[in-house]
């Protein structure tokens, strides 16, 4: 199937950056194991290296089948099992959308406005993302550029405002308790990373310098996360370990040009990036089902997926224990490993074997 729409690698990686950054900024000491938060900079560096390895089979497959996504290749080569792979990717995006939305709702309700109407927030955000997903990847990627500019300016303002608060004595010696925190941080970051799966599904839509773009994107997100973690540790000190969302607390204590706190700006930026993430996920779902259903049914399916995400995220945020059980790092990590490591590698090996058989 030939895709009529091609976005540039530049647009694609902006989209991927925003899609990944939104969940990275919800890190906290509780999920990272209460160790030295600064050590999680090494976690992000480890993920940086692992992402380079994981993307190699995808680049190989993309060079061989430039017009096909990973699920499409699987469907073509493996028949019924291939359709199962498409379904796995679809469910993965659905789960990650629900996870992201519930994390944001938790952030909003626990920090900024406990009385906020989570129904209206979830429905409006998902509605906008659905609108973008139905319009297509070109719309999402163009919007990502605009939102990236706002995000970059907003975060630059927050970091600039915080720079006088940097206290280097809060920076504790690294590896005091061993490398456990760094490894746990790596698994947390990896479990929430949708970039490889998004790349696997959306790669046929991308044209241009994909490899260079991936390197810049991967480096950029690691750099951003490192800067954020440094500011969290050096500005909040011990206080960072008591906060559910230390990045939010960081924004709340920033003060610029008479404006006393920038938490509303931070929440706004998170929300804008979340819309991009959900839109990407929904478009990923649409791509997974594109070969199984007619276009009209696909838009109904997308709306249904969006509705499921909203309902589940609302149900999960009703009780913090539900989130703790359903979104355990181990579960998410297993799912992410399946979609980002196992399935790409299996299809890659299958293709390699097929190629060798042909050559033989």
């Amino acid at each position: 199937m030939k895709h009529p729409t091609k976005i540039s690698a530049f647009q694609f990686y902006f989209m991927l950056f925003l899609s990944r950054v939104v969940i990275s900024i919800t890190v906290n000491a509780q999920t990272l194991g209460r160790g030295n938060l600064l050590e999680t900079i090494f976690s992000s560096l480890m993920l940086f290296a692992v992402c380079f390895l994981l993307v190699l089979p995808l680049f190989w497959l993309n060079r061989r089948y430039p017009e096909k996504s990973l699920p499409a290749i699987a469907e073509q080569r493996m028949g019924g099992f291939g359709f199962g792979i498409s379904a796995i990717y679809g469910v993965f995006f659905l789960v990650m959308n629900t996870f992201s939305l519930s994390m944001f709702l938790a952030l909003l309700l626990n920090t900024m406005d406990p009385a906020a109407s989570k129904w209206s927030i979830a429905i409006i955000l998902t509605g906008i993302a659905l609108y973008g997903a139905i319009k297509g990847i070109e719309t999402i990627s163009r919007a990502a550029i605009c939102i990236f500019v706002l995000f970059a300016l907003g975060m630059a303002a927050i970091f600039t405002a915080l720079s006088p608060n940097v206290t280097l004595r809060y920076v504790e010696p690294l590896w005091y308790d061993g490398a456990g925190t760094a490894f746990r941080g790596f698994f947390v970051f990896a479990s929430r990373c949708t970039s490889i799966a998004e790349f696997a599904v959306l790669m046929p839509f991308v044209t241009g310098r994909k490899k260079l773009g991936f390197a810049v994107f991967n480096g950029g997100i690691t750099l951003f996360l490192s800067i954020l973690l440094f500011f969290i540790v050096s500005c909040l000190g011990e206080y960072a370990y008591l906060q559910i969302f230390p990045a939010y607390t960081l924004a709340a204590m920033s003060e610029i040009a008479g404006i006393q706190r920038l938490d509303a700006l931070f929440i706004g930026l998170c929300m804008m990036t979340l819309v991009i993430r959900i839109a990407c996920g929904l478009f990923g779902i649409s791509e997974c089902v594109s070969r199984m259903v007619k276009p009209r049914v696909r838009s109904v399916l997308l709306a249904a997926s969006a509705a499921v995400s909203v309902l589940f995220s609302l149900w999960i945020t009703e009780d913090a224990r539900r989130a703790g059980v359903l979104f355990r790092m181990e579960y998410l990590l297993a799912f992410t490993t399946l979609t980002s490591v196992l399935l790409p590698v299996i299809i890659w090996i299958a293709e390699l074997c097929r190629k060798e058989r042909k050559a033989g």
């Binding site: 895709h3 009529p4 729409t5 091609k6 976005i7 540039s8 530049f10 647009q11 909003l108 900024m112 406005d113 906020a116 209206s120 927030i121 409006i124 955000l125 906008i128 609108y131 973008g132 139905i134 319009k135 297509g136 990847i137 070109e138 719309t139 990627s141 163009r142 919007a143 550029i145 605009c146 939102i147 706002l150 008479g258 404006i259 006393q260 706190r261 938490d263 509303a264 700006l265 929440i267 706004g268 930026l269 929300m271 804008m272 819309v275 649409s286 276009p295 009209r296 696909r298 838009s299």
Partner: protein
């Protein structure tokens, strides 16, 4: 389609039938050396002196000795008349269309075709500067209602054979003549074909203004992807960038496509002023756009939900002012804004002699009495006033800003600052999902092209700007079909 008969009486009978009760229909019957003839025209559309001196006198004073009516017609056509604009007419539809366009038509018995002469002579407005697009440096000419004059204004500025004007007729009942203009060396043939196709699908009965056509040239959206201008120099600049203009008879506004969002912030003055000043003004307009849409919403949102965002001194002043008024901030802002829009609409519609009174009453009631009576607070009034002023900086976007401003007041009042940002996200998606004839509406910002920023983020000097023409069809992302389902 009815062909002309060779019997003059039949032709006259047909015309009398269709122009029954039309007092402006002129029929002058006469004899040309024994053969019956008639001249038909429409009162008010023709120059009678021109008809008398250029058509009737030469025919009636010349001895036309040919035997049959057809031979007489050929002789008149070749030897008698000196009119430059002369055409054979074979059908009644064509004859009627020409009559409606100010032609006078000669019919002769025993001849199955007629001769139409360009004798237009109707009252028209003289060329003057358009009020809506005032320019400080440069031409003071604006389009007028007569499209032929508008064509001449463009031709005078672009003396190149590459400039083409293709005639079209719009309106099933009004038969409004129009012209599609473009530079055939630059224009994208696919876009041109699409424009013609969409205009061909226009099922309007009457085309009385340029705005009637925009619905046929774009998909429905908050923001308009069809450009409108009253300035010939603006249209010439657009044609040079590969755009296609449509000049419609009866309206001084030309339509052009494709139209991009950034064009709302560009004026001809930008290119006549010094680059650094033009860039400064452009950034002022970008800021004004955001202020005009978001300022009242942000004010309401902050005052209602996020007061921590305000500096302490300002917060105290706002709180003090608000404590004196009976309405919540959102309602106060909506009331003030409605009052302003009412005054504006009244100022536009009332006779000029009364507009001063409207201003005085409005200024006194809102500016003084409402505040001193404690109905509205001074900060709210200042915010709405600033918003209104900034709105006038980009007149092309006034309609959108007026509606969005109100929407954001409500959104800010209900959800606060995050609601405003949600709204902004929706607008970004709406803008980014829009294309104008396969050219992304947000180009060259999204998709981004650094090179194109020289006329968006900046306005670099003419030496470098003129070095390479960048037609609109070469914008990043242009020519692609959006994947929709």
């Amino acid at each position: 389609m009815v062909n002309l008969s060779d019997q003059l009486s039949e032709n006259i009978g047909y015309l009398r039938g269709i122009f029954k009760n039309a007092m402006d229909f002129i029929l002058r019957e006469f004899q040309i050396d024994g053969v019956s003839a008639a001249l038909v025209a429409m009162e008010g559309l023709v120059n009678k002196q021109h008809i008398t001196l250029g058509v009737l006198n030469p025919i009636m004073r010349t001895a036309i000795l040919q035997a049959s009516g057809r031979e007489k017609m050929v002789y008149i056509q070749q030897n008698v008349l000196g009119t430059a604009d002369q055409a054979e007419v074979h059908t009644m539809d064509d004859l009627v269309l020409r009559l409606m366009n100010g032609f006078s038509v000669l019919l002769i018995d025993e001849c199955n075709y007629a001769l139409a002469f360009g004798t237009q002579g109707f009252e028209k407005r003289s060329v003057d500067e358009p009020d809506t697009e005032v320019m400080q440096r440069g031409s003071r000419e604006g389009f007028v209602e007569t499209y032929i004059i508008n064509i001449s204004m463009i031709r005078r500025r672009m003396k190149t054979p590459a400039l083409k004007f293709e005639p079209i007729i719009l309106g099933e009942e009004s038969h409004t003549p129009a012209a599609i203009c473009y530079l055939d060396t630059i224009v994208d043939p696919e876009i041109l074909a699409e424009v013609k196709k969409r205009l061909g699908s226009c099922n309007l009965q009457d085309v009385l203004a340029a705005g009637y056509l925009t619905g046929y040239l774009e998909r429905p959206s908050i923001f308009e992807s069809v450009g409108l201008t009253e300035r010939p120099d603006t249209l010439c600049g657009k044609l040079h960038e590969g755009r296609i203009g449509i000049l419609i008879d009866g309206t001084p506004t030309a339509v052009y496509v494709p139209y991009l969002f950034v064009e709302n912030f560009q004026t001809v003055d930008d290119y006549a002023n010094r680059p650094f000043y033009a860039a400064f003004i452009r950034w002022l307009k970008y800021a004004a756009f955001f202020l005009a849409i978001f300022l009242p919403g942000i004010y309401v949102g902050i005052a209602t939900h996020n007061p921590e965002l305000l500096p302490e001194t300002l917060l105290l002043k706002v709180a003090e002012a608000e404590s004196q008024t009976p309405f919540p901030v959102m309602l106060e802002a909506i009331l003030l804004y409605f009052m302003y829009e009412l005054m504006r609409e009244a100022g536009l519609r009332v006779p000029k002699s009364l507009s001063g009174s409207v201003s005085i009453v409005g200024g006194l009631v809102i500016g003084e009495t409402a505040v001193s009576a404690g109905l509205v607070s001074a900060p709210s009034l200042v915010v709405i006033a600033v918003t209104v002023i900034t709105g006038y900086v980009i007149p092309k976007l006034y309609e959108q800003m007026a509606v969005l401003r109100l929407a954001f007041i409500v959104v800010g009042g209900i959800w606060g600052v995050w609601g405003i940002l949600v709204g902004l996200t929706f607008i970004i998606f709406n803008l980014c999902g829009k294309s104008s004839f396969k050219v992304p509406f947000m180009a060259p910002v999204a998709p981004f092209r650094l090179h194109a920023m020289r006329d968006v983020a900046l306005r670099i000097g003419w030496k470098r700007l003129a070095a390479k023409n960048n037609p609109v069809q070469n914008m990043p992302g242009a020519g692609k079909e959006e994947k929709r389902f």
